[in-house]
Structure formats: C-alpha cells, structure tokens
Symmetry: C2
Subunit: 467 residues, 2 copies
C-alpha cells in the first residue's frame, strides 16, 4: 500500500477486507499503483486521488457483492465507467474502492418496436449506436466524449443534441441500481409514462454514485431522421450569433443542434483538425426531419441569421462532411488544450435562461479579457448552456487560482441570472461550493436527508455533490 496522495484521515483497507475481495475476485481485484492512479484520474484539472484498490466487475450481482463487503467493512465505493468526468467525480477523496464497470458492456436488449434499449452501465454511447446500426434507430445524447452510459446517467449528461432530444433526465426510462448495503433494486418500467409512486429513476439520474451504483439502464431511442443537414455560419460578433440562437429558440424551430464557438475556439479547431473554417464567432447547426421539414427549418434559421449579420452558410449534407464537422466540434476540448503545450483544460459549465444568454456571455467575455486567461468559448447555446475552456499551466499556482476565481464568478453570475452553475458536467468536487447559492439552504438540507436515508454510513462516493 504505497499511497502518498491518500489523505491521512481515513484508515487503510483491512487485511480481512483485502483477503475477502481477493478470494472473490482474484486478479480482478488490484492494488497496483498504476491501476489505482488511472482510476483516480479524470479529464478535469483536479489533481488525481487514487482509490486504495480497484475491482473489475462483470455483473450486477458482483457489484452487489462488492457493496455488501464494503458496507460490512465501512469502505467507500466509487463507480468507474470511462473516466471522462470533468469535475473530479471519481477521485477517491476518502480512499476506498473504485468499482470499474467497463467490462459490463453488453447491450442486453434492443426493442425497435418500442423505441427502447437496455444496456449494462459500461456500454458507451458510441458502442450503443454501433449496435443500433441496422435498426434505423439511434441514441441521441452526445456529451462529446465516448462516455459510458452509466456515467452519463450518474452525471445527468447531455451535450449537443439536448436542445431537441433532452438530457439523460428525459431519456432514461428505468434503472437497475445497487444500494450502499448491497441491495439490488429496479426503478421505472418500460411504460412511456407512469404516475405510480416516487420517481426513483430521476432521483438516481444525476446522483453521481452518491446514492447507489447504476448497473443497467433502459434508454429511449429515436428513429434516425429521414433527412439530416448541417451547416456553419460565421458572425461579425458574438452578440449577433447569440441573438440568432435566442430568436431560433423563441420561434420554436425544432433544431437538433445549435452550437456556438468563438474565434479562439475556431483557431484551436483549425489547428487541431486541419480545417479551414473562418476564425470568427460561429454557429454550428444541425436540422433533423423529413426532407421538406429540414428545408423549412433551414430556411427559417438562415433568414434569422441573415437578419443578424450572418456572413455565410456553409452546408454539409453528405454524411462524411457532417461527420467531419461534428468531429471537429467534439474535438474542441482537446483542440483548445493543444493551444498551449503541456497545459491542462478546466471547463466552466454555466446554464442560464435563454433571455439572459447574451448578457451572461458578454459579461463573461469581459471578465475573460480582464483576467487575461486563454479560455475559448464553446456551447450548447440552444439550452442556454456554454463552456469556457481555460487552458492552464498546471505548475502555475497564480494562474490556477485566477482560473478558479474566474470560474467562481461565472457560476455565481449564472445563478444570479436564475440559471445553474452546471448544465451538464455535474457537481463532483468542483461545484460543491455553489450549491447553496443555487438551491438555498432548505433544498440542500433535503438533499442531505435523502443521502442520509439511502446511505447512512456515507460510503457511496463520499465527498461529492453535497457541500
């Protein structure tokens, strides 16, 4: 047990516990330093905090067995999917066991007639869409990273398609969950709607592994649209682009994606993805529907863009052109980090009512200019959600502090505008400080009561969400 990063205030794993886990899981229970380090690291700028050990599980029953043992021995449990979280969700701040669900990667059922599928938690969104290839259906939620569907459920993820298809909140129908003491429960059903009791499904969606570990998920699927069309349009300034978004949403155009990137983000993308997009504030659009419907939506949006000084519309209707365009958008996070060799990214995640979007972005860009941070802007602006990706020197304490303060001001600004400090990344350890401002003491007390009711020993991903 060589773990210098582990904080000293929690006891090491007991020999009895280690023996029991080894007996049950053999080589799938690992205390190796490399395995522990990789399971204590996510995609965020938060410094790694490895767990005391990692167990690679293959079934719900195995997760239940681990939970039962951890419960008996008072060992914290942290679910691990693809490791793509952005707020330190999987960091072992109190030590404990990382439960790696990546081998639980079976698509259990695809019911094309009902437009739903059931998967194990380790299935990634791309894997699911590959499995759906011959059904004419797709799963729309797309946070960029090829995250596991368990992790996406746990963080209430969304991404570029949410403006049309909703987030994980709207698209999870049912769950299998392992509770802190090893009990296995099912929530929800395959009915499209139900008024049968408390909405346990929605309680676990977004609970970040602090109330239970999601092991199976039933998801809504959608018919692949008959026609899909994508476009980019550059604007003279950010305000013109944002006002185009606002008017599109207020008119109720059923747009599938509407993404904003600023000039700096375009510069990063061109350099990383070898594209030649104009380096100006830009909207990426996608339209889904029948051929006539897509044409109609596109005409409407093009007209709105023109009224706001949109410079040109470049269309991508062929599947490969669309893929290239959206791949470039998805690579924006990594492209931004590459702007500065050796840097780490730190992404903000404000979400505000659409009427406040222009104000919130304008104030934030003024703040960015004052701070001198390198922080390209990208965002799912149809939902009022946008990110600034601060590109930071991890060894420069002053810069890290400045970025932290910038992020704090943005979170508070979003909350002041009746929005949220996190639209889709989740709370993890990074956003805990803003929850009281966002929800009030009373609601946080209720959250604490729920946590106490379901996990009285505080073993499920302790130190996350609750302030």
């Amino acid at each position: 047990m060589n773990a210098p990063e582990r904080s000293p205030d929690h006891p090491p794993l007991s020999d009895t516990f280690i023996a029991a886990m080894s007996a049950r899981f053999g080589s799938r229970f690992s205390q190796s330093e490399a395995v522990r380090l990789s399971h204590g690291t996510d995609e965020s700028a938060h410094p790694p905090q490895p767990p005391d050990a990692v167990v690679f599980v293959e079934s719900t029953e195995e997760v239940a067995a681990v939970a039962t043992l951890c419960h008996a021995h008072r060992v914290p449990m942290i679910a691990y999917g693809a490791g793509t979280s952005l707020e330190g969700h999987l960091l072992a701040v109190n030590g404990g066991i990382s439960i790696d669900l990546s081998a639980m990667n079976r698509v259990l059922a695809v019911r094309a007639g009902d437009l739903d599928a059931t998967v194990e938690a380790g299935v990634t969104r791309k894997q699911l869409n590959t499995a759906l290839r011959d059904t004419g259906l797709f799963f729309p939620i797309d946070p960029g990273a090829d995250a596991s569907l368990g992790g996406m459920t746990a963080t209430r993820a969304s991404g570029t398609n949410a403006v049309r298809y909703g987030t994980m909140r709207e698209n999870v129908m049912a769950l299998t969950v392992v509770l802190a003491d090893g009990r296995i429960i099912k929530t929800g059903s395959r009915a499209r709607k139900s008024a049968a009791g408390y909405d346990l499904t929605r309680l676990f969606v977004g609970s970040e592994g602090t109330l239970g570990i999601v092991t199976e998920i039933t998801l809504r699927l959608y018919p692949i649209p008959e026609a899909i069309s994508s476009a980019v349009c550059a604007f003279p300034d950010i305000a013109a682009a944002v006002n185009t978004v606002i008017q599109t949403i207020q008119l109720g155009v059923p747009i599938a994606r509407i993404e904003l990137l600023d000039a700096l983000a375009l510069q990063a993308i061109n350099s990383y993805s070898n594209t030649t997009l104009r380096e100006a504030p830009t909207l990426f659009f996608e339209f889904h529907g029948s051929p006539a419907g897509v044409d109609e939506q596109a005409r409407t949006v093009q007209e709105i863009a023109r009224e706001h000084g949109g410079l040109d519309f470049e269309w991508a209707t062929r599947a490969e052109d669309r893929s290239r365009l959206w791949q470039a958008r998805h690579d924006a996070y990594f492209a931004c980090i590459r702007l500065r060799p050796g840097s780490r990214g730190q992404s903000t995640d404000a979400c505000v009512p659409i009427s406040r979007l222009a104000d919130c972005i304008a104030e934030t860009l003024e703040d960015r200019a004052t701070s001198g941070l390198i922080a390209p802007l990208v965002g799912h602006v149809g939902d009022g959600n946008f990110h600034l990706i601060a590109v930071l020197d991890p060894d420069n304490a002053a810069e890290l502090e400045q970025a932290h303060n910038f992020a704090a001001r943005l979170a508070q600004r979003a909350i002041r505008m009746e929005g949220s400090c996190t639209g889709e990344h989740g709370v993890g350890i990074g956003k805990r400080g803003y929850l009281i401002a966002e929800h009030g003491e009373g609601a946080i007390d209720v959250m604490r009561s729920l946590k106490q009711a379901l996990d009285p020993l505080n073993l499920m991903n302790p130190g996350k969400i609750l302030p």
Copy 2:
C-alpha cells in the same frame, strides 16, 4: 364535530389546535359539514372521507404556518386544488386538515422570451392558457378536467398532448414546496437543464402531497403551432386502429394527439355532446407544426390508416370545429357516466410499451365481455396509455366488486407486460395494492425510506401511495 364517516382510530382535533387555527385564519378555517364533505370527495368512485376541518390559504407563508401548527399538533395535512383526482388522493383516511389552495390562483410571471411561466398552485390549466392568450404561447398538458396545476404536479398528470409534449415530469422546471414541519424550499431553477445535485423537482412531481405541499410551479411553455389540424377516422375493428397508432409512433411521426375510443365511447359521446360521429372504433388525431409539416404528417398518418382499413378521414381545421371535437373527447368521461343514470364512473389507467398495446387491449376487451361490465374504452394510445370507464351502480355491491376485480386484472396485465398500473391518474388509495408488483419490494423500501426522511411523523397525506 359531527363526523360519523371519520374512522374511529384517530383522535379529534384538539381545542388548542382549533383555537390556534381560528385565531390565525378566522372564517377561512371551517369545520362545517358541507365544506368538509366537499373536500373529502373527488371524481372517483371511492366513497367520500371528509377531513376534520378545511383551511383556505392565500400564500405559501400561510401554507407554512398551517404546516407548522399541524406538525406541532400531529395533525395530518391534505392539499386540495380543484378536487378532480381519480384515485381518492384527497380523502382524509386518517382525518386531519384539508388545505384548500384554490385561492392561490395568481399567474406570478410569464416570461415569453424564455418560454416559461410561474404560477401559484391553485391556478388551473385553462386559467393559465387564458392568461397566455396574447403571448403566442400555450401550456400543453391537458388531463381533460380543468385541474389545478398544483394537483397536476402532485399526480404527474398528462393527457392527450403527452405523446408530443411530455407529462408534468418533463414540463415542471422548478417548485416552491412546504415541507411537513413548515419549512419552505425551492427546487430547480429556470435553466433548461442542470446537473447540480439531486433532482428534487422530479421527486416532488408525482408525490401526491405525501412529501410536501407544492405551492408555486415554474412550467415550460410552447409556441402555439403555426398550423393545427385535427381529424377523426373510424376503423373496422379495435385492432386496426391500434395498429395504426403503433406504426405511427414507430415511424417517429411527431403527432400531437392520437386518441382511441371504442364504439361504446362514441355512442356515449354522440348522446352527450349531440355529435353524429360513426359509432365504431375511432382515432382522434391532432397535428401541430408549420403548414407544410402538418400536411406531411397528416398524409403519412392517413396512408398508415388506409393500410389498416381506416374508413374515412374527417378533417377539422377551423378552430371552432377542432374545439368541438376535442371538447367531445374531453367530455367522454361524463358522457360515459350518463350512459346509465345514477351511476358513478371508475376509470382504469393502464400504460404499456407500445408493442404490447394491441395485446393488452385485446385481452382487456375479452375480459370486459366476460365480465359483462359497461366500460367504454378511451385512451392516449400514443403513449400506450388507455382507460376503461366502468359505469357502476354505486348501490350494487356485487357489481362494484366485479369492477374492482376487473381493474385489478388489468393493472396486473399491464405490469406483466412491463408497463404501469397507472399512466397518469396516480396511486392515491386505489392503486396502492399494485405498487409492489410493479416496482418490487426493494424499490418500495427505498420509497418508504424517502417518506420517512422527509415526513417522519407521517402527516403529509397519510395513507396514500405507499402500500
């Protein structure tokens, strides 16, 4: 205190409590028998159970004051909105106070630019839509009755438009809630999405007043579609109509309403509403969108209907014709009850995956034929949700028992088909017996833990939901 209906196992209100309530609320605190009886009666066939008293509140702070007093004196609290619940939700099975929120009927804010509004819990859905008249927006959830939005939130209501716009689950953004001990909390925000902690909003939506009393609600609004078109189409048999629905949904047609009625329901409607619709299995359709989009949807659905032997399409494009058509649909419940003078209605509420809809309806109609019950079928079949309205002689015990058994078999059938015993009416006292079959003991234990965490004295609408 003349209350012969009150079960003898709970104590009468104490003089101290009565004095305190009278001092605070004056004539708005009533122990009159008529007022108590009206507040212990809903639209269902469950026999009335009056509360011990009724208080007419005018603000969140007054609800909190009532809750604080009730908490101190261990008096049960039951929220009352419009009294249109269908499963005995507001029956005072343990006595206590009915808190009438109907005077909390202010539309607090309409933010057209953000497509949202905040209302007090006593505002009804029709009142909200009247208030929205000049904004170009509407609130789509439509359970038929002019229910209060607080009650619709509490029961996770939906109705004819849910196939396109979702249920209260998807359309409530934020709440003000009074907890059992009088604390006031806010849940959610005006952000379209958020990953900031546990989804308290969804926990209270559908909790039927058993975890807290909803006093204010922020709701999503939608632009009134540019074009709306309605139609009816009769079919040679139920199976043909249901298969038309299934194929429409599986093709992803964004239909706004698709309602099934059987020949008996049509007969009831013609007699009640003075219409001359063909008395055969019939689908009512509504299409929302641009003029071209509506045309395209209508053509697609018409073609599907024709393939399944649809007999004719009668269109209603003028607003007054559409209103007459949907008013007739909404009046179906009362029309059915009128089939038999002096009768009471008892509505089932099964919801199944769409692929099982034809089977579930066929088995249910066989069961109806065997039982000899008069029970027209109506349903929001786009969601897999349908109702049989048993028209019962309230003095015929054998018939009531037969109807109860028929409803029980249908609930169990829906659960066996991976559906729900209640799509939209809620559990109340009527569906408690099916919850373990639907969710399993484990999930019900979790629901009990949540109830215990938020209402340890079991004062919030006791005797509802949990088996």
